[in-house]
Symmetry: C2
Subunit: 128 residues, 2 copies
């Protein structure tokens, strides 16, 4: 539990995980409830570091699904659940910034990064 | 030229680039010849840093294509070519470690990381 070096990673190599393995991997809350799955990760251009996971959540058969960018630091890989555990509840996620699914969601919502950072540092996360 | 903050990135946000935008992006040698495209990136589990790009190169209509992991530091984004420029020639790439395309290529070739690091630090790259 609480380790990024899970089965997903082991399918690749000990210290590294492939981006196409991260994409599509399930995400759970700490109680084990499904929060959705990872659509993609956002990589810093200058430092090459993953800064956010874009969670796909909500809707039915893809209709009404939204993108929820969450700080990468909120995620831990859980070998038992074969997925990531996010350090937030479903209620906290439902209150988080969300964006309509579209290839250009990032540019269409220029302020998303500031909004996401503000939310995950804010009163909804008193322990942060 | 020689900047990761190109058009691909701008479609997302100023400082970040989405993994699903990096995947499939063309890669060129410094002379502008096509070297293939990026299949995926390998992310460090503990530091969350992109360590390698896995280049898809060779073959015809996907048949005979191989995966060439190359150090992420070898790549720069080129706004003019709408793709990445790798700091290596086609001949250097042809001599580089390659692996048959398969979802589990990483575990099937446990020593790939050491082999790749050795090659890109070796005599084929005298300026490295």
């Amino acid at each position: 539990m609480s380790d990024r070096s899970g089965d997903v990673a082991r399918r690749e190599t000990g210290a590294l995980i492939s981006s196409d393995k991260v994409e599509g991997t399930a995400v759970y809350d700490p109680a084990g409830n499904s929060l959705g799955s990872i659509h993609s990760v956002m990589i810093g251009k200058t430092d090459g570091k993953v800064a956010y996971a874009v969670l796909s959540f909500g809707g039915f058969l893809g209709i009404g699904t939204d993108y929820y960018p969450i700080p990468w630091a909120q995620l831990r890989y859980d070998t038992a659940q074969h997925g990531y555990v996010a350090l937030l509840t479903k209620e906290q996620l439902e209150g988080a910034p969300r964006y309509e699914t579209a290839p250009d969601w990032g540019t269409r919502n220029a302020g998303w990064q500031a909004d996401v950072d503000r939310y995950y540092r804010g009163p909804a996360f008193p322990s942060a």
